[in-house]
C-alpha cells in the first residue's frame, strides 16, 4: 500500500481535545469511594542498622487507620534481583529506603503521623563512589543476596560483555588511536505528572490497582507475586492505567510505594492512594543511570575504523532496578554504530549507598553514544579527516550483520549524514572558529554532528517480546480496540487509530482505543524500547486482515440482499430508477469486496450509493438474523528477533534498527563560558511517517531532553543525599532556552518489518544530542568537556586551563 488514506499525513490526536479541556484524568484526579491516603517515612541515613521503630504515637493519632513497618507486615520482595523489600528490616542502604508507612483519612493527618514515628538508627560506614565501593574492605551494601547467600563484594553479579575479532592485533595495525574517558550524571525523568497509585481490594481479596505504569502486565506479575507473599495465593491483581502525565521510563519497574499501597489497602480494607509530591519525586524515585565510560578507537590510514574498546563503570546505588541493565542497550552503539570489525565491551555495575536508578529514554544508548561520538571526532582529527567524511566512510549500510549479530534490514544512515552536512552548512562552518560577526573575538561559533543507532522494531529483553491486540466491532460500525501498551503522551493512541482505520478500512472517528487494563487487553510486555507504535500497528494490521476476511466472507450472503433493499427503497422514491443488469449474487465473492472509509463496495458494481453499504448496517444485518454473529479479531504479534546472550553480547535483539544523525551549531561566549545553541538539525531514518504531528512531537521532545542532558541537568548528591530535589535547582529546559530553529528531516526507508514501513522513534531523539553539541563546542573553542552537563563553569575552567 503506497497510497494511504490516513497514514503519513498530519492528524490531530484523538486524545487532544480532552487534554486541552482539562478533562483527561490522571492518577492525581482519581478518587474511589472510601479512599484513604498513604504516606511513607523514608530513611534518615544513607547506611544504618535499624535499631528500633516506635509507631505507638502515630497509631494513636485520630484519623490514622494503619501504620506498617517491615516488622509488622508480610515481606514483599522488589526488583529483578529481588534484593529489595517494600518495607525495610535490619538496615537501610540509602536515604530513600522506606522504613514505615501510614494510611490515614487525609494526606495531612498521614503526614503528621509520619512525623510521629520514631526510628532509632545505628549509622554504618557508607560508600558513595563506585571505585571506592570496589576496594577491598569497603563497606558492603548487601551482605547477603536474595537467597540468603553471603555476598563478598559490591560488584554486582551481572555479566554483560562482548568480544569480537582480535583487539590487540587491530590495535597494532592501527595508524591512529584516540582514547578518552567520559561521564554522564544521574538526571531525572521529571515527568510533569508525579508518581502515584491507588490500590483497592474487593471482598474476594482480589486487587485492583490504578498504576502509573508502562508495564501493566509485568506489573501484574509482580503484584501477583506480592499477593502470594502476603498469603493471598491464587488471588489476582488487575492493573488499570490512567493517563500517565509522562513516562520516560519511570513506569518500567514496579516500585516500593506501589507494594506499600497494596499492603496498606489490604490492612485497612480501604482503597489507598499514594501520591508523590515533587520533592518526593526527586528525592525518592529512581533517576536515570549515571556512567563513566572509557573508550579507545583506532583507524587505519584511510580512516576506516579498526577496533573499539569500551569499558563502562556504573554507580548502581543501593538496589537493582533497570539502571543495572543499561549495558544491554549500550551494546547497541558499542558493537553496531558504524562498522568496526574488532570490539571489546565490558561493564562493571557496583552497589553504593546512593539512590538507585531506573530506565530513562534511551536506556544506556545516550550514555555510550556521548563517549563514542566525541571520540569519533577526536580520532577523525588525529587522522586528519573531516569529521563528517570520517563518519560517512564508516557508516552502517543496509543488509549488514553487525558484530553483535544485528540484522540490519533498512538503514538510512548515509542519507542522514549527507542531510546533516547540508542543513548545518558544514563545509562553510566547520573548523573555522568563526567569531560572531560584529563582536569582539569573545564569542565563537562551531558546528558538530553525532549519529545514532537504536532499536526500531522493539527490543527483546524478556522471554516474550509480543503484543496482542483485539478489535471488536459493534452494531454501529465502531471498532473497539484493546491494546495492552500505554499511551503516555507519545501519541500511541493516534498511531493505533490510524493503523486500524487504514488496515481495516474505516474512518479514524470510528476507532476507539480503550483504557489499558490487564483484565480486558491482551498481553503486552510493556511500552519501552520505542516499541509502542511498531508493535501495536503490526498487531492491528494482522487483526484487521483477519477481520476483513470475516467481513467479506459474510458479505457473500448479506451483501446481495442489502443491495436489493437499497434498490427497492430507491424505486419507491423514484419509480424510473433502473439499476444496471448485473447478477449481484454471482459476483458477490469474498475476493471482490472492499472496505474503505467505512463503506463496503463490490467490484463490478458502479460507484453509486445504492451499490454500497456502510459497515454499521452490515454488522447489524449479520447480528440480527438467525444464527447471528458479532465480529471481532485478535492478533498476537511477536517480532522476528532473538533474546541476546548478554554475557557474549550477541543476538539480533530487534526486528529492525532506527538510524539518525543530529547536528548542532553553537556559539560559545568565552567570557562567560555559556554555550548558546544557534541551530539543531535532526535527520532520522523513520522507515515511514505514520502521523507527522506526533512524530515531530516525539523528536522535538527527545531532542530537547537531549539539550537538557548536554547543558543543564544533573541530580546533585552528597553522601547519598539529593541536594537539588526541586525545579529551583534541577534545571529543566524552559521555553526560553529553546529559541533556536530545529530542522527535522524524516528519511523514509520503507522498512520490511515495520507497520506500513515504520520504525520505532520514541527514544532516538535523545541519543546523539549531547555529543552533537559537545563536538560543536570543540569546533568553536577547541576545548572538549568530558563530563556532562557542559556548564559555563566547566567551559570557563577548561579555557583557563588551556591558557596556562
Amino acid at each position: 500500500m503506497t497510497d494511504f488514506h490516513w497514514i503519513g499525513k498530519d492528524h490531530k490526536r484523538p486524545d487532544g481535545p480532552d487534554k486541552v479541556a482539562g478533562k483527561t484524568l490522571y492518577i492525581h484526579d482519581l478518587t474511589r469511594p472510601g479512599m484513604v491516603f498513604g504516606k511513607i517515612k523514608f530513611s534518615a541515613h544513607a547506611h544504618a542498622r535499624i535499631v528500633r521503630i516506635d509507631t505507638s504515637k502515630a497509631e494513636k493519632l485520630p484519623g490514622v487507620l494503619a501504620v506498617l513497618t517491615g516488622y509488622n507486615s508480610p515481606e514483599v520482595r522488589v526488583g529483578f534481583m529481588r534484593d529489595n523489600v517494600a518495607l525495610k528490616r535490619g538496615k537501610v542502604r540509602q536515604f530513600r529506603d522506606e522504613v514505615a508507612a501510614v494510611a490515614a483519612i487525609s494526606p495531612e493527618i498521614a503526614e503528621e503521623a509520619i512525623e510521629l514515628i520514631d526510628v532509632e538508627y545505628e549509622p554504618l560506614d557508607a560508600v558513595f563512589d563506585p571505585v571506592e565501593a570496589m576496594r577491598e574492605g569497603a563497606p558492603l551494601v548487601h551482605e547477603v543476596d536474595a537467597n540468603g547467600k553471603p555476598v563478598k563484594t559490591n560488584i554486582m553479579p551481572l555479566d554483560y560483555g562482548h568480544q569480537s575479532g582480535d583487539i590487540e592485533a587491530a590495535r597494532r595495525a592501527s595508524k591512529f588511536i584516540a582514547e578518552g574517558t567520559y561521564s554522564v550524571p544521574r538526571i531525572q525523568q521529571s515527568c510533569m505528572g508525579t508518581a502515584g497509585c491507588i490500590a483497592e481490594f474487593d471482598m474476594n481479596d482480589n486487587l485492583t490497582i490504578w498504576a502509573k505504569t508502562q508495564i501493566p502486565f509485568l506489573a501484574q506479575r509482580d503484584y501477583n507475586r506480592a499477593l502470594e507473599e502476603m498469603g493471598l495465593s491464587g488471588k489476582n491483581a488487575r492493573v488499570i492505567v490512567p493517563a500517565l502525565g509522562g513516562g520516560f521510563g519511570t513506569g518500567l519497574d514496579t516500585h516500593c510505594y506501589e507494594f506499600i499501597a497494596i499492603l496498606l489497602a489490604h490492612r485497612t480494607g480501604r482503597p489507598v492512594k499514594i501520591l508523590y509530591d515533587r520533592f518526593e519525586e526527586f528525592a525518592y524515585l529512581s533517576p536515570r543511570q549515571s556512567a563513566t565510560t572509557r573508550i579507545v578507537q583506532g583507524c587505519d590510514a584511510d580512516g576506516m575504523l579498526t577496533f573499539r574498546e569500551i569499558e563502562v563503570l556504573q554507580d548502581n546505588g543501593a538496589y537493582a532496578s533497570w539502571g543495572a541493565t543499561y549495558p544491554t542497550v549500550m551494546l547497541l552503539p558499542a558493537t553496531s554504530l558504524y562498522r568496526v570489525p574488532n570490539i571489546r565491551f565490558s561493564a562493571k555495575i557496583v552497589y553504593t549507598n546512593n539512590t538507585y536508578c531506573q530506565a530513562m529514554r534511551g536506556y544506556g544508548n545516550p550514555e555510550v553514544t556521548w563517549a563514542l561520538e566525541c571520540n569519533m571526532d577526536d580520532l577523525a582529527a588525529k587522522a586528519g579527516i573531516d569529521a563528517y567524511e570520517f563518519r560517512r566512510r564508516n557508516s552502517n549500510v543496509p543488509g549488514e550483520t553487525t558484530p553483535m549479530g544485528l540484522q540490519v534490514s533498512t538503514c538510512g544512515m548515509v542519507e542522514c549524514l549527507t542531510t546533516t552536512r547540508t542543513r548545518l552548512g558544514w563545509d562553510d562552518k566547520r573548523g573555522k572558529n568563526e567569531h560572531t560577526p560584529g563582536q569582539a573575538p569573545r564569542k565563537r561559533r562551531g558546528v558538530g554532528m553525532a549519529s545514532l543507532i537504536h532499536v526500531g522494531g522493539s527490543g527483546r529483553i524478556y522471554r516474550s517480546d509480543a503484543s496482542g491486540l483485539t478489535m471488536k466491532l459493534d452494531d454501529f460500525g465502531n471498532v473497539n480496540v484493546f491494546y495492552g501498551g500505554v499511551e503516555m503522551g507519545q501519541g500511541l493512541h493516534s498511531s493505533i487509530t490510524l493503523a486500524v482505520a487504514e488496515s481495516l478500512g474505516v474512518l479514524p472517528d470510528q476507532v476507539h482505543i480503550n483504557q489499558t487494563d490487564t483484565a480486558t487487553c491482551p498481553w503486552d510486555v510493556g511500552t519501552h524500547a520505542s516499541r509502542g507504535a511498531f508493535m501495536a500497528c503490526n498487531a492491528a494490521i494482522l487483526a484487521a486482515r483477519e477481520l476483513r476476511g470475516k467481513i467479506f466472507a459474510s458479505c457473500e450472503s448479506i451483501f446481495p440482499a442489502e443491495i436489493k433493499k437499497n434498490i427497492e427503497k430507491l424505486r419507491r422514491k423514484d419509480p424510473t430508477f433502473t439499476p444496471p443488469d448485473i447478477d449481484i449474487a454471482a459476483i458477490a465473492k469474498k475476493e471482490n469486496f472492499d472496505l474503505a472509509r467505512g463503506i463496503i463496495t463490490l467490484r463490478g458494481l458502479p460507484n453509486e450509493s445504492w451499490a454500497q453499504i456502510d459497515i454499521g448496517r452490515f454488522l447489524r444485518a449479520i447480528h440480527f438474523r438467525p444464527d447471528g454473529d458479532m465480529l471481532a479479531a485478535r492478533a498476537f504479534y511477536d517480532p522476528p528477533s532473538e533474546l541476546p546472550d548478554w554475557s557474549r553480547g550477541r543476538g539480533n535483539m530487534s526486528a529492525t534498527y532506527t538510524y539518525g544523525v543530529q547536528g548542532a551549531e553553537v556559539e560559545v561566549d568565552e567570557d562567560t563560558g555559556e554555550v548558546r545553541i544557534l541551530r539543531m538539525t535532526c535527520a532520522l531514518d523513520v522507515g515511514k511517517v505514520l502521523n507527522l504531528q506526533t512524530l515531530k512531537g516525539q523528536v522535538y521532545g527527545g531532542l530537547v531532553q537531549g539539550v537538557g542532558y548536554a547543558l543543564y541537568e544533573e541530580v546533585k548528591s552528597e553522601h547519598g543525599r539529593i541536594l537539588n530535589p526541586g525545579f529551583t535547582d534541577y534545571k529543566l529546559p524552559t521555553a526560553g532556552e529553546i529559541d533556536f530553529p530545529i530542522d527535522l528531516d524524516f528519511i523514509e526507508t520503507a522498512d520490511t518489518f515495520g507497520p506500513f514501513g515504520a520504525k520505532g522513534v520514541g527514544e532516538p531523539g535523545l541519543v546523539p544530542t549531547a555529543p552533537a553539541i559537545g563536538n560543536a563546542v570543540f569546533d568553536a573553542i577547541g576545548v572538549r568537556i568530558h563530563d556532562l552537563p557542559i556548564t559555563p563553569e566547566k567551559v570557563l575552567a577548561a579555557l583557563e586551563a588551556r591558557k596556562s
Binding site: N724, T734, G736, L796
Partner: protein
C-alpha cells in the same frame, strides 16, 4: 496542629495591632516565598499569618517629595508597568522583566522580596544603585533606613519586632543617568548565580557619578564602593572599564554551592560590570547589546 490563624486586616493600623498582639505571627505579602516554605514544610508553621494584601495604603505608587514612593505591596508587574519606573529606572525594570515568571510577578512584591533578604534577591542590586530608602512603620511611628543598612545577613533585615516594610522610596534620577541590570542564571526562573546593577551619570565621556551593586556574590546584596571610586570623575576608556571589572571581581566574596563556584561567580561579576559599563557609556569593549536593555 497543621494550620495557622489567617488574618486579613484592611488598614495598616489594624495590621500592626495584630502583629503586636500575636507572638510569632508572620507577615504575608505575595506568598511566593512563604507559601513555598509552607508547602514544603521546611520550617515549623507560625501560629498566625497576617496578610498585607488588602491594605490600600500599601498598594500605591505615587510621586512624593521629589521622589517615588512604591508601596510595599505593589506587584512587580505593576511596578514595571508604571511609566515613572519604566522611564527612569531601567535597572529595576530589567530586573523585574527577568524576575521568575509572570505568574510570580503578578503577586510578588518588593516588600516580600526585600524582607526575604536572600543574598540573591534580584530586586536588590537595582534598588541599591537607585539609592533606595526603606520606610518602616510600627505602632510607634515611621522610620527610614537606607537600603544598604537594611540587609543584615542572609535572611536577616533591620526590621524590628512590630515593624512592617511599608514602602520603598526612590529619588528621581537626574538627567544623564542611565542604569542597567544583568543576571546570570540559566533563565529568569533560576536563583541568580550572580547579578549586577550599574547606574552612571555621564557628562560627555566623563562619569560624574556611579553606583555599582551585586547580588548572590556575598552574604548580602551589596554596593561595590571600590568600583564606584574608580569610575567617579574619570573619563571612560577601555582601560578604565577593565580596571572596574577587576576591582569588581576582587570586591565580592562569593561561595561555592550547588548552583555555582566561587571562581565562576567572581569572574562573572567582573564580566557583567564590564558589559554593563560598555553598553551604558559606549566605552570599553563592544559587548552583546541584546543582553543589556537601556
Amino acid at each position: 496542629m497543621t494550620s495557622y490563624e489567617y488574618h486579613r486586616p484592611k488598614t495598616l493600623e489594624e495590621a500592626l495591632k495584630l502583629k503586636a498582639s500575636i507572638a510569632g505571627a508572620r507577615w504575608l505579602a505575595g506568598g511566593t516565598d512563604l507559601l513555598v516554605q509552607f508547602n514544603k514544610r521546611s520550617k515549623p508553621l507560625p501560629p498566625a499569618v497576617i496578610s498585607l494584601r488588602n491594605i490600600d495604603e500599601l498598594c500605591a505608587i505615587d510621586a512624593r517629595d521629589g521622589g517615588l514612593r512604591i508601596g510595599s505591596m505593589v506587584s512587580l508587574t505593576d511596578i514595571a508597568a508604571h511609566p515613572a519606573i519604566r522611564d527612569g529606572f531601567s535597572a529595576l525594570t530589567e530586573s523585574i522583566r527577568l524576575f521568575a515568571s509572570e505568574q510570580i510577578r503578578n503577586v510578588c512584591t518588593l516588600g516580600g522580596n526585600l524582607c526575604n533578604a536572600s543574598p540573591a534577591a534580584d530586586c536588590a542590586p537595582p534598588l541599591l544603585v537607585h539609592d533606595a530608602r526603606i520606610e518602616l512603620q510600627s505602632q510607634g511611628g515611621t522610620r527610614f533606613v537606607e537600603l544598604p543598612n537594611f540587609f543584615r545577613g542572609p535572611g536577616q533585615t533591620a526590621i524590628e519586632a512590630g515593624e512592617v516594610l511599608a514602602a520603598v522610596w526612590l529619588s528621581h534620577p537626574r538627567a544623564g543617568c542611565r542604569s542597567a541590570f544583568m543576571k546570570k542564571g540559566r533563565t529568569q526562573m533560576d536563583v541568580a548565580v550572580a547579578s549586577v546593577a550599574v547606574r552612571v551619570e555621564m557628562d560627555g565621556d566623563v562619569c560624574r557619578s556611579a553606583r555599582v551593586a551585586a547580588g548572590a556574590v556575598a552574604p548580602l546584596p551589596l554596593r561595590l564602593p571600590e568600583v564606584e571610586a574608580i569610575l567617579e570623575g574619570a573619563r571612560i576608556s577601555n582601560d578604565l572599564v577593565s580596571r572596574a571589572r577587576q576591582a569588581a571581581s576582587r570586591a565580592v566574596s562569593p561561595i561555592t554551592d550547588i548552583r555555582s563556584t566561587e571562581t565562576y561567580r567572581r569572574h562573572i561579576v567582573g564580566v557583567f560590570v564590564e558589559r554593563a559599563l560598555s553598553s551604558l557609556t559606549g566605552g570599553g569593549r563592544v559587548s552583546d547589546a541584546a543582553e543589556v536593555q537601556i
